[in-house]
Amino acid sequence: MKCEICNVRDAEAVYTEVVDGVAKQIHICKVCALEKGLDFLFSPEKEEGGFVCNVCGLTWEEFEANWRLGCTACYNVFGDKLRRVLESIHKSTRHVGKSPEKDREVFELKKRLEELKRRLSVAVDEERFDRAAKLRDEIRMLEEEIAKRRERRAKNV
């Protein structure tokens, strides 16, 4: 098979590109791969191959063919290979968004905290400074309480 980038040299590797969430397999030669910064396709690690998830049995080849992981463990099993895939899709390998709050009590406290903060901004807008000061104290106490519970939980884990 010819390289699908230059259409001249023989393809020596396959990589997957995602366009609009659809995975497309592209056969590529060594020269084009190097030009596109895809040299890892030819790194020794690639040749080792044969990675298999010990939890769900998914192989790296299956993943490359279907673009679906088998289970949550795959994310650790496929280690650096997967990290590079994520880097190429998202230009990042670190989640910075929301994390799930699994502790119901902490969750309730956080809800309460949001409500107090909302009230505080209303009080400030209305120039009711006595009330605002009171709310600020409450907020501080609540934040300490949440931090304490978090610490306690971290120790238990």
Binding site: L58, G70, H90, F107
Partner: protein
């Protein structure tokens, strides 16, 4: 079986911002339950267990009091298609329903698909342009769900998903945009390219792998990892606002340069929709595009965009067959479609 009245869509009763251009906004969050393989690798037994767990958690949540729950396995293919036409389940669930489930509020503005590509796909729908509102709604549901279920979360990668394109926030914000102005003035290619280069996807009306019909485009964020949810929402807001203003410009330009021709086309489209006796799906979307633009330009008065939004959903094949309670061939369907369209447009303009 489920009871949804085919010709009523409550969440489309109101109109959101920029409704002449943006039909609706959807935010979805992909989530998985720890301890089970992802659906594509799960056995029937796994899928059923996931559904059981999901159902018992979802039914604890107040937001779903009185909501509708339906399981895909036993569902007739016509019913599944009906749910897809309403954007409540995806294409993927049409063909593979093993262990599939859907929890949705009566207003159909908030729901969860079970065992789609991921164990859970939480979604919120809003009319018009409302990424912020839709996110707040679905995030509230997510908060509550995280208390009930052990949701898979990785310290580096965030929420884990079956496809690596969704990992991190698991969030996709998408809007359905009606862009006839950009299509007619041939600027659409440039706009689509710009969107793609800026990290946004552009697809047809049913998302992944679907065709663009009726000048309707689905625009959504592409990246899900390395950005905060609010950042993703703001990003979509920013690009969509730009597109909306370019669309308004294009419409004005067409109108100024060929006013009579445009008015004629719009009135003819309205004439056909309000009088034709046979209308195919494809023809409907083409005509609807013109009528919608006519309403936007203020040429057609007395027709509501709400009705146009509803007719777009309710005149699809499975809807027509649900209304009639029977399966039917294409010609009869085109006839019933014409009747449904007239019933929506009735009370529009006195002729």
């Amino acid at each position: 079986m489920f009871d949804i009245e085919p010709l009523k869509i409550f969440w489309l009763e109101s109109l959101g911002e920029y409704s002449e251009v943006i039909i609706s906004t959807r935010v979805r969050l992909a989530r998985n339950i720890s301890g089970y393989p992802f659906p594509s690798r799960a056995t029937r037994e796994d899928r059923e267990k996931v559904r059981e767990e999901a159902y018992s958690a979802l039914s604890q949540i107040n937001l779903f009091r009185g909501a509708l729950w339906t399981e895909m396995d036993g569902l007739h293919s016509l019913d599944r298609q009906f749910l897809m036409e309403r954007h409540l389940i995806s294409k993927e669930m049409l063909s593979n329903g093993v262990g599939g489930g859907l929890m949705v509020r009566r207003d159909e503005d908030l729901g969860v698909m079970v065992n789609e590509e991921d164990h859970l796909r939480l979604f919120a729908l809003c009319p018009g342009f409302a990424p912020q509102d839709a996110y707040i709604k679905v995030n509230e549901l997510d908060d509550l769900l995280c208390l009930e279920l052990d949701i898979a979360f990785h310290k580096d990668y965030g929420f884990l998903t079956s496809c690596p394109t969704n990992v991190g926030t698991g969030m996709r914000v998408s809007v359905l945009a009606h862009l006839p102005g950009l299509v007619v003035t041939k600027r659409i290619r440039e706009v689509v390219n710009w969107l793609r280069e800026s990290g946004y996807s552009v697809r047809g009306i049913y998302g992944e792998g679907s065709q663009v019909v009726g000048n309707i485009f689905q625009i959504s964020n592409h990246l899900t990892l390395g950005k905060e949810e609010e950042e993703i929402v703001e990003g979509v807001e920013r690009v969509v606002k730009k597109i909306v203003s370019r669309e308004y410009e294009a419409r004005q330009q067409i109108y100024l340069s060929a006013r009579l021709e445009i008015e004629d086309k719009i009135w003819r489209a309205y004439g056909t929709l309000s009088h034709a006796r046979l209308v195919s799906s494809e023809e409907l979307l083409g005509l609807l595009s013109l009528v919608r633009m006519g309403v936007g330009l203020g040429i057609l008065k007395g027709i509501s965009l709400q009705d146009l939004n509803k007719v777009m959903i309710c005149a699809q094949p499975a809807h027509i067959q649900k209304v009639e309670g029977e399966q039917m061939g294409p010609v009869i369907r085109d006839q019933r479609r014409a009747t449904i369209i007239r019933s929506f447009l009735k009370g529009g303009i006195g002729l």
